[in-house]
């Protein structure tokens, strides 16, 4: 359990919960209304958004474990100097150039979409966290050690809370790239997900469905932003001294 977990709680009052519910319900009612008025199969749209979100959440979860884990390992082992150039080259490889390799090994499958998106999301998280750990004030590191934060205690009580602003920033950047990756791969080769939904609407010239599909993505992005990232960004203000 992260020591600072209670400090990272983002909804403290009833008012916050009401705002959060409003942020979800109002766009949802708007979307359902549009679907009804446009005579579109709403379940198709919601299912497509759901599948894409599922892929994104799994990719993000893997990315955050990998990104934060690798960054902590490199800072711990003091091995970053030798590994960073290698990681830098790897992250600069355009991810879409890797699609044929993913297709060759995994085919156009759900696993392939998740693996592909992970290779896009992980880099910003890894580099932001690594940078935060490497530039941490020496006396803070010393204080953590002197006051007993060692081994896993150091990871959960010092290194992760220390990297929190970097994790938030890296996640926001990583997820925006992740959306592109998942939707891109759905358009190219998958038969479900919002990318596939948009592709089908575009190919058949159905402008209403296409517009609603895009509107659904914007609403999901808006809701995630308001409910998750904005409160977490506000939490990072405590890090300013």
């Amino acid at each position: 359990m992260i020591h600072a977990a209670k400090n990272l709680r983002i909804y403290h009052k009833k008012k916050h919960v009401h705002i959060a519910l409003g942020t979800i319900l109002i766009p949802l009612v708007f979307l359902v209304g549009m679907i009804t008025l446009g005579g579109i199969a709403g379940t198709d749209l919601l299912f497509s958004v759901g599948i894409t979100l599922y892929r994104l959440i799994i990719s993000y979860t893997i990315s955050i474990i990998l990104g934060v884990g690798i960054a902590i390992f490199l800072s711990y082992e003091n091995a970053a100097e030798s590994f960073i150039p290698v990681l830098d080259i790897l992250q600069n490889v355009p991810s879409f150039a890797l699609i044929p390799i993913f297709v060759l090994t995994l085919g156009y499958t759900n696993t392939m979409a998740i693996a592909f998106a992970t290779t896009s999301i992980v880099w910003p998280i890894l580099f932001y966290v690594l940078s935060a750990l490497r530039t941490a004030k020496t006396d803070l590191n010393e204080a953590a050690e002197i006051f007993g934060a060692r081994g896993s205690k150091k990871i959960f009580n010092y290194l992760i809370p220390l990297s929190f602003p970097a994790i938030v920033t890296g996640s926001i950047v990583g997820l925006s790239i992740g959306w592109e990756a998942v939707i891109g791969i759905e358009i190219i080769g998958l038969s479900n997900g919002i990318g596939s939904f948009l592709n089908a609407a575009g190919t058949s010239g159905d402008k209403t469905t296409l517009s609603l599909g895009v509107a659904a993505i914007l609403l999901v992005v808006f809701v995630i932003n308001r409910l998750v990232w904005v409160p977490l960004i506000k939490r990072t203000r405590y890090y300013a001294e």
Partner: protein, 244 residues
Amino acid sequence: MQNKYALELKNISHRFPADERKESEAISDISINIERGKFVSIVGPSGCGKSTLLRIALGLLKPIKGEVIRNFQKYAMVFQNFAIFPWLSVYDNIEFGLKMSGMKKEHAEKIVSEKIKEVGLAGFENMYPKELSGGMKQRVGIARALAMSPEVLFMDEPFSSLDTITARRLKDDLAHIWEKYDMTVVMVTHLIEEAVELSDDIIVVSQRPAHVKETLTVNLPRPRNLRSQNFFDMSDKITGLIDM
């Protein structure tokens, strides 16, 4: 039988890489014995290697030569720039070391509440470091250290980042706390008056590479009169030693 000395540094030398080819000698053959229960200050010019010596004593740095004997189990440190964790409240900062030691929450709560009152932070428990003044941040640092019930308290220029009035109050509080706790204090400072005011022994170190110039015992009654002739004489003597 308990060792007379809480800390023994024997023939310590240390070097830092100055650039790719050269190394810079920070400490040269320093031997120091810190007697248990005493308030000892290490005084020297800025950048002479005092803080490096403190970190070697703490085991944060390994010297290239020499031996460190630590005859204590529990220790804590107060930092020049406070080094309190910005993501934790005042209460959580003070509780940090106790939590890391695996102490039960109820027991830790009792100790933390006691230290909060002792350093004058009552009412500020839920505030975060960015909401505190420099003096209050250092009080959090001192409370965090005291919560550990240290046998030896290390302090690295603890008043250097504070304004004169805040530093004055904190020094008074620290003198009381030291008397109450019967612990060994090792303080590094470049402020001579500060060392004379608080210490039993003062170790004067030279310009880099640091070596011990002289160890002086301050035989002035406590609380020290900062305007007495003896106080000025002692301060002048140390100033003369550092300038030599």
